[in-house]
Symmetry: D2
Subunit: 294 residues, 4 copies
């Protein structure tokens, strides 16, 4: 049942460079020249200049097979250019699979969807473990051969629970935490201390229906489309940078339960796209917005 | 350049009955029996029961050519059933074209779109006149053979302007006022006194970006879809019953001007659908929501 | 992990009447009067008249709790009306769960999606068994507590295999066969003898890319949207009545493997909708087309 | 009523370079270095490598205000690189507005839509003239201040008519011919001799319903979505490279006239996007497919 995208076949010999810096002339040429000069063949390059922020963003995917030098030499050369041009940068080699943790509560649809996509080779990463404030999904998770941590969260134990979660994240060197309909609010302190990126799925078309019970409120407002939003979690609840959104048509015939059913499909699709793009280093943050090179 | 939908060919001999009442058994049978008993042939019937409001809604379109009786007798029979079952009802004969007024400011795209669709036979109504707080669109409107009223609106003249608008609406027996990107806020008093229905197009996916400058705010929030919403105007600004909504994909590459350009297409499509459905008596109001039998 | 839609809560006390007949006046009144006369309360009624075929279609869902008579008496009354008006009709009581068989080959995504939706209460039926020409999916199916039949199909054994499939379908009184990416072509003889309805998912936007390898051909044609189509299987391959279709955007960046990945999501969504609508008696056949009361 | 996108404000000082060549290493670096070396600041760069064709495509938009040299010197440098790397290239300065001719028959919706978008500044070009095989749209076109040529086309006069069209295209140095629902088939000879690019709008989701009467055939097939396709016209009718496609949902309630009405909106949107992208040099041809840098 494991399938891999044929288009990823060369992935072992490619690398992806992400760059953010103040906009100025010569940025594209400087990076292209540096990579070319070391024998790197550019496969894809996307760039964007945000005119308001005055920031430049670039994603370059290149083949490493033809490098004249070793990786360290290449990285030193990039670092030199970056210093000169005030670039923040990150270089990822295709083999270096990211480590992912999934937080859930009782709803299983986003979790199962991610586990299935991972098994099908659609989402390239290592799913290190799943944590939940309930133990109901433990058998399901273990069936997929993934570790499960039951971390109870109550008003009294919240601080303790978050400390345990943070310890797990640090100890297992997690790169990305996916909140797959995790029904607890993470404290600002957690998000500050968490070294991993955190992606959340919100079950509405943000900024509509910020906060709780969005399907019920969508029903009460009588909207004709429902939506879902995947975003980076920040201390400002439901206000983090949006990665992806989508909507589905609904009508007066749809009760709250129908909106929830339709919404589950949206949540799965939107979260999967956001996670996939993040893992492929396609998402850059610009203030409270994202640049997505899809 | 005038085209008519062939599917509307029989329209001269049909009538549409709209009914709203508390839900109870026997409603469908009572109306069907009454219509059949007078020789009316039911072409379409849509119904909906709102479980929260406990209300029943029905739209019946029937042929009048085979009526055994005159219209008055049929209407008396319907009135009798309606009284017995506490129904609010409205019967419209296909020939009785609704009279429409359009309010605009400077943006012309929704106005031109409505005028063109009217000319193409897509929107069956009589466009009685266009009113604007600017005179820039007068030549364009008159080119379509439609009367134009320039009614200046300032903080000082607002009450006076609204009185003039209301007088025009009453004098020309307007059934529907379309706010086609009219940039003035109508006072609660206006909406209370206005005998016509009022449909507004809001340039966002409500309830996201309620209020002014929604495209700028959508840009600043970094949403990945922009939307438009057609709704009945009520005293609560942007809070009236939603008739139709739609969205279009956008990305980090879209500046505010791009969102406005894409949004113009959305506004035209969404407003035209709402106006068309309203004119075909397909929209019923249920509290602050709509039932749309499309 | 089992959830049921709250909106289906009353389902044990409802029934659904499907009617098809030549169009004439008085049809709606006759049925409404008959049901009302026996104490049935109509919850929903949808109807459609096909002007080309001259056929009338109606779906009536009603509560049976208030019936004055027993079911048999009601059915006799309906049969009498039906005879008089040349109606074909089918009455289904909500408790009478349909029995479903799923045919698959190696691709598991549609199968797993249906099994998960069934477990979540989205698809109300009994999944009697899964049959495959490969044994690879047997452990997965059995994990869901569903019987698995491995029926080998080769050029030599095809007739024999189809006989075995037909025997299984008959013996277990299957109402619906779902071809969930079953890669074998069923013979016209099979479809003729099969008492169950058969729904297939085709991985293109029919009638584009009829036949094999639609994703490869979509790639080669350079389309900007890919689609999926759920349809009733008939002897004319890929030509049966279409129940549901949907599309997803693609671009020059998408290779065949990307189209296949995106397509898997489409196939799952489109097939699930079609199966759900069929199981809720929302789909009527009109020549080679469908009427879907969704 | 003339509006211009603020995002185009700097357009007078930018240029766009389109490049196609066999894929090899160093392409990106060579071009970036050449532009940078002459003082050109790259604003946007999109690239694509087609793995099947082994072709490389790039679109670079850059500011010319800071050029150290004159345009001729820059062009000579690009030509030198291009020769070395077997590149086909085209350089367009933002001021050099393309000249467009529109062919129509009787349907006016795509024509009016293009004229309105042009007036609103959405489509940057000069609309040189409109040609039609009917004279019905002459007053409308002239109202927009655009020249109108009535060129009668019959079986007898077709060769003569095409000669007249070609002469007009050549004499007025047309860059792009838009077939805005032009109901005549252009001969292979015309397309061969025509120096301008030719974009057609087909009223179906190609390759479904290739040929005539697609809405009627869509109705007869019972599809659940209708579509429209903008493509470059080639000698193989309806087989040219697809630039853009979109679809709209339909149902059993939609008669042919409803499909035509919905389709008009699709045709307008899809054609306008294709024309806009073409005029902005965002479309490159790769065999019988397109690369669209949108």
């Amino acid at each position: 049942m494991t399938r891999r995208d044929p288009s990823d076949e060369r992935s072992g010999e490619t690398a992806t460079l992400l760059v953010t810096c103040p906009d100025r002339t010569g940025l594209v040429a400087a990076l292209a020249q540096t990579l070319y000069g070391h024998g790197a063949n550019i496969l894809d390059a996307d760039q964007h200049t945000d005119p308001v922020a005055g920031q430049f963003f670039q994603r370059i995917r290149f083949e490493t097979a033809g490098l004249h030098t070793d990786r360290l030499t290449l990285e030193r050369a990039i670092a030199e250019v970056a210093e000169r041009l005030s670039m923040r940068w990150r270089l990822t080699y295709a083999g270096a699979t990211k480590r992912v943790a999934i937080f859930v509560s009782r709803y299983d649809h986003c979790l199962v969807d991610l586990l299935l996509r991972h098994r099908a080779g659609e989402i390239e990463c290592e799913i290190a473990w799943v944590a939940s404030n309930h133990d109901t999904l433990q058998p399901l998770v273990e069936q997929f051969g993934v570790a499960f941590h039951h971390i109870l969260v109550t008003a009294q134990t919240k601080a303790e629970a978050e400390a345990a979660q943070l310890a797990l994240i640090e100890r297992s060197r997690i790169d990305l935490v996916v909140l797959a309909r995790y029904m607890q609010i993470l404290s600002p302190g957690f998000l500050e201390q968490c070294a991993a990126d955190v992606i959340n799925i919100h079950h509405s078309f943000l900024p509509a229906f910020v906060g709780g019970k969005p399907y019920r409120r969508a029903y009460e407002r009588g909207v004709k489309l429902i939506g879902a939003t995947a975003h980076y979690a920040t201390a400002d609840l439901d206000e983090g940078p949006i990665i992806e959104q989508d909507v589905m048509r609904c009508s007066h015939r749809d009760h709250v339960a129908d909106l929830m059913r339709k919404g589950r499909d949206l949540e799965k699709l939107v979260l999967a796209r956001a996670v996939r793009w993040h893992l492929q280093d396609r998402v850059l943050i610009c203030g409270n917005k994202t640049v997505v090179f899809d």
